[in-house]
Structures are given as structure tokens and as C-alpha cells.
């Protein structure tokens, strides 16, 4: 009756989504009356420290250095079987998307992808997830004995009061890698957009890529990630990975500040689960104002310097 949580611990610092996934697993394990086994790969440091977030055991496959979906699937599925896991938790990101569906198919386990909260386990097993690109949510009932949940970032407050976990190496055979990594290009050290709590986003109203400096400055002052609308990414003013919306990234930060974005339905779909939305647009008819908590009708060039000054003042005060 245990829970297995699969996370990517390879970087210098444990990703926030991994901390959330462990906390998420801990809550489920408490209901089931079992423990949490974290499963990971590569040579991440301080794996005992995963205990702080709820893991009692950690199983690591040090020989797997990259996201090789078949090897990692075998790692997770075999560990889940050994641990008699009833629930397997992954993060709904590039790593989780490579592994969770495969694990589910391998174990004939029902899989909820993009869960936005803890499961309801009273008399069944139902998980709430985003559908229609965030325009609605659905409760999905899993009826198989083993369940796989891929959790959206920013879905649960992190708890970090546990004691160190016991770490062991995975002893089984994971087979040969069939996908080989030739080159890795890290995106500029900014804040990872799906995990960001504050996002400053800008659109066509900025008039050109050369006007982005104040957007980045505001983001820096607020400790925010930067994002953009689809036309801006399509015109190559900003990189594609910054594009939020129906065909880009769906995010749910605490605070979304949109500058010069009209708020087409496809854009709203990717951001409407933000806790608070502030919209700055010179067009008072911009549809985004209907979805906003705070609004300013004004030109970005006029408004942004005031926001930066106010953010600097706030930072000086705290």
C-alpha cells in the first residue's frame, strides 16, 4: 500500500515540481497507510534529503543519465511492483510525459495526466485535471488496482519537515538505451516558466523585440519568469518556449501580469488558472480585461517604467 514518486533530481538543485510531487505522494500515502518511495536516476546529490519532502526510501538508477523512456519506465514499473505500490506519482513535464504513460500502459494502470489537486479517495479514486486547455476541469475515476498520476506544477503547497530517507541503488537490469543524447542546450538560466509563481508576459502591443528590456527588468525585480503570446513567438520576437496559451505552455502561477496582450480565447486557455491576473492594454475593449482581477488602460511604454519603479521601491522596503 505504498506510493512511488518518480522525479528528476539531476540538477544542482531539487526542482520545485519534484518537491511538490513528493509532498503530493506523502498525502496519498498517509491516506493509504503506507510510505513514499522516491525513484530517480543520474547522479543527483543529497538524495537522503528527499526525506524532508516525504520520501522514506529513495531508489536511484545512477547508470541512467538521460531521459530514456524505456529504461526509466522499467525502473519505475519494477520499483512499483517490488514496493507493491498502489499509486505512482510523476510530474506532468518533459520527464514525466516521457515516462508516466509508458509506466501506465506497462502496468495496465489508469493514468490521469495533468492533475491539479490531490485525489478524492472516499469510496473510489477520482482525480481532478485540466481539460480543454484549462477552459474546464474534469474529475477522472481510475478503476484499475494500480494508478498513475502526473501532477501539474503549482498544484500543492510544499511541505519539508520530514527526516532523511534511506537511499539504495536500483539492482535490476534496465536494458540498453535506444535513444541517445548527442547534445544538450540549456535555456538561459531564467526561472522555469511552468513552475514560476509570478509571470510577466507581453504581446504584440510591445511593437517589437527591441522593446523587451523593461519587460525583463520588471520580471527581474519581481522574481518572475517571462512569457509571451503566440504572435510574438511566431514572429520570432521571443523564443517558442515562452509562448503561453492553448498551443503553447499552460501555466497556473499565483500572479500573471499581461502587457500588450489582447486576450484571445486561445491565450486565456493557457493562463486562466492563474490565481491573480493583471492586464495592461491600451485598448479598453481588449477581451483580456474580462478575465482580469486588475486592469490598467494604458500604453506599455508609459506604464512599465512606473511598475518597475514601484517594484524597486517594494524590494527596497522588504
Amino acid at each position: 500500500m505504498s506510493v512511488v514518486v518518480f522525479i528528476d533530481t539531476r540538477g544542482d538543485k531539487l526542482p520545485k515540481a519534484a518537491q511538490e510531487a513528493l509532498t503530493y505522494g506523502k498525502h496519498i500515502a498517509a491516506k493509504l497507510g503506507g510510505g513514499v518511495t522516491a525513484v530517480t536516476f543520474g547522479d543527483g546529490a543529497n538524495l537522503e534529503g528527499l526525506g524532508a519532502f516525504g520520501a522514506t526510501k529513495v531508489v536511484v538508477a545512477k547508470g541512467v543519465k538521460t531521459i530514456e523512456s524505456q529504461q526509466l519506465t522499467k525502473l519505475v514499473a519494477d520499483t512499483a511492483t517490488t514496493e507493491k505500490a498502489q499509486v505512482i506519482v510523476c510530474v506532468h513535464d518533459g520527464t514525466g510525459k516521457a515516462v508516466a504513460p509508458r509506466v501506465a500502459a506497462r502496468l495496465k494502470a489508469g493514468h490521469v495526466a495533468g492533475a491539479i489537486g490531490l485525489p478524492n479517495m472516499d469510496g473510489g479514486f477520482q482525480v481532478k485535471r485540466n481539460v480543454f486547455s484549462g477552459k474546464a476541469q474534469a474529475w477522472v475515476s481510475i478503476t484499475s488496482p494500480v494508478k498513475v498520476i502526473s501532477m501539474m506544477a503549482n498544484s500543492i503547497p510544499i511541505e519539508s519537515n520530514g527526516s532523511p530517507a534511506t537511499v539504495s541503488d536500483f539492482g535490476g537490469d534496465l536494458g540498453a538505451a535506444r535513444v541517445t543524447v548527442k547534445e544538450v542546450r540549456k535555456s538561459g538560466g531564467g526561472i522555469n516558466l511552468p513552475e514560476a509563481e509570478i509571470v510577466v508576459s507581453a504581446g504584440r502591443g510591445m511593437k517589437g523585440p527591441e522593446f523587451w528590456a523593461p519587460v525583463e527588468e520588471l520580471a527581474k525585480e519581481l522574481g518572475a519568469a517571462t512569457a509571451c503570446s503566440r504572435p510574438v513567438a511566431d514572429m520570432h520576437w521571443r523564443p517558442h518556449h515562452e509562448h503561453v496559451g492553448q498551443t503553447g505552455v499552460a501555466i497556473r502561477p499565483n500572479c500573471y501580469i499581461a502587457i500588450g496582450i489582447s486576450g484571445a480565447i486561445q491565450h486565456l486557455a493557457g493562463v486562466n488558472q492563474s490565481k491573480v491576473i493583471a492586464v495592461i492594454n491600451k485598448d479598453p475593449e481588449a477581451p483580456f480585461f474580462k478575465a482580469a482581477d486588475y486592469g490598467i488602460i494604458g500604453d506599455a511604454a508609459e506604464v512599465l517604467p512606473q511598475l518597475i519603479a514601484a517594484a524597486k521601491k517594494l524590494n527596497a522596503e522588504r
Binding site: A100, R102, H111, V131, I198, I280, D293, G298
Partner: protein
């Protein structure tokens, strides 16, 4: 190269999202149905480009009822050679993947390609499940796909950056933005699509592992609080003291 492209039918991106039958079903009334943009713009078009460059064939597969046929013809109009529809009504991604895998397992496809997710279910699940059921390598979220003989070079999005990976056919891949540019079907394509083969195959027996029991719409927003442009700095104060989000 034999390509199999997974095509899903979804509501148009501007479609109203509403539910019927006590919020247990999507209300498709008056909705325009389209090919899932990721399947069409990136997966299908890239498969066609590679076929045009190196030879081979492009087959599409869709799991669903006869109501999908018009959408499937659209994919044929863009250039696919033939289409398969598995006549099943799955309740989850596994149901779709198991039907695709049951059809594809003995057909010798070199590349099985799908969009990175559908814009209605957003699961990013089916392609990975197909890969597992067929015991094939899987490269999700690919923004670039090149083939030299049997070997593919792929760029894929991973947390914190992009990886360039190599994989040999046969494999499964999911396509993200950047892989190709949307193609608008021309009149010749539309005419040709009418007579291209659309084979309907019966559903394979597949167990149900999960199903959607209820939909919810997000709660309505409170009225927006407007701040005069010449006092824009107030926004930062309100976000800090009132909303408490910065």
C-alpha cells in the same frame, strides 16, 4: 519510410466549452470539429515532408465513430495517402493507445508520430502508451525531426532546455511547435481526398482503466479593478498588500 500519423478530432480552438447530461458529457452542439492542431500542423506535415524527400507512405489513424470521417478527409486533403479509423469509443487515453497498437503491431511502420497533446484532453499520453505497447523507443515533445536512412536526429524539449537525440527506426515520436509549418489543403488535394482509401477496422477488445465522471467550468471572475494609467505603480502595491501574490 512508412509513417503512421495519429489524428484526433477536437473542437475548434474558438469553440464554446459547455457540458450536457449533468455535466458528464461535452456539448458538441453547433461545434466545428477540426484535426487536432498538433497532429495536423506538426506531425502530419513533417511526415509528408519526409515522405516527399525520401519516399515512402503516410497513413493516418483515428480512433472514433463515423462522425470523425469528415475530419479524417481533411488530413487526406493535406496529403496523407490513406487513412484508418478504428471504430471504437474509448473512455481514456489507454483505450485509444491500445486500439492504435492493436492495429499497428504487425504493419511494419517505421515512424509512429502524433501531436504532443490534443487540445481537448491535453494528456500527452497516447503516443507514449503506444510506444510501450509496441515496445518501441519514444521521443516526446520533439520540435525538429530529420531522417538519414534509418536514423533520426530529433530535438526535443526537456525541463530547462533542448536535447538533440538520435534514435533508429522504428520509433514513436510526439510533435511540438517548430517541427513544421501548417499546410493549407488546395482544391486538388480536397478533390483527391474524396477517393483516397479510408478503411474502417473493428475495435479490438480493450479493458477500461479510467473514465471521466464529471466536468466543471472554472468559477466566474470577480469584476476587474481598474487603476489609472498615471498611477500604474499602485498595481504593484495592490498585488503585494491586497492580492498578496508578490
Amino acid at each position: 519510410m512508412k509513417f503512421l500519423v495519429l489524428i484526433s478530432q477536437v473542437p475548434d480552438t474558438t469553440a464554446r466549452i459547455a457540458f450536457t447530461n449533468d455535466n458528464t458529457q461535452y456539448d458538441g452542439n453547433g461545434v466545428t470539429w477540426i484535426v487536432n492542431p498538433y497532429d495536423e500542423w506538426y506531425a502530419l506535415v513533417r511526415a509528408l515532408e519526409l515522405k516527399e524527400a525520401n519516399g515512402g507512405s503516410v497513413t493516418t489513424i483515428t480512433v472514433g465513430g463515423a462522425d470523425c470521417d469528415a475530419t479524417i478527409r481533411k488530413a487526406l486533403a493535406i496529403g496523407a495517402d490513406d487513412a484508418v479509423r478504428v471504430d471504437a469509443q474509448p473512455t481514456d487515453a489507454y483505450g485509444v493507445a491500445a486500439q492504435v497498437a492493436a492495429y499497428a503491431k504487425d504493419k511494419g511502420f517505421d515512424v509512429v508520430i502524433a501531436g504532443k497533446e490534443t487540445i481537448d484532453h491535453n494528456g500527452s499520453q497516447v503516443a507514449g502508451m503506444v510506444a510501450e505497447l509496441l515496445d518501441l523507443p519514444y521521443v516526446p515533445l520533439a520540435s525538429k525531426l530529420d531522417m538519414a536512412g534509418n536514423t533520426a536526429t530529433v530535438e526535443r524539449d526537456v525541463p530547462g532546455g533542448v536535447e538533440v537525440v538520435e534514435v533508429n527506426a522504428p520509433f514513436v515520436i510526439s510533435a511540438a511547435k517548430g517541427m513544421a509549418e501548417q499546410r493549407i489543403p488546395n482544391m486538388r488535394g480536397i478533390m483527391a481526398a474524396r477517393t483516397k482509401p479510408l478503411t474502417v477496422v473493428p475495435a479490438a477488445p480493450v479493458e477500461t482503466l479510467s473514465s471521466t465522471v464529471k466536468f466543471e467550468l472554472p468559477p466566474a471572475k470577480q469584476a476587474v479593478k481598474m487603476i489609472p494609467a498615471d498611477q500604474a505603480g499602485q498595481l504593484i502595491e495592490l498585488l503585494h498588500t491586497e492580492a498578496k501574490v508578490i
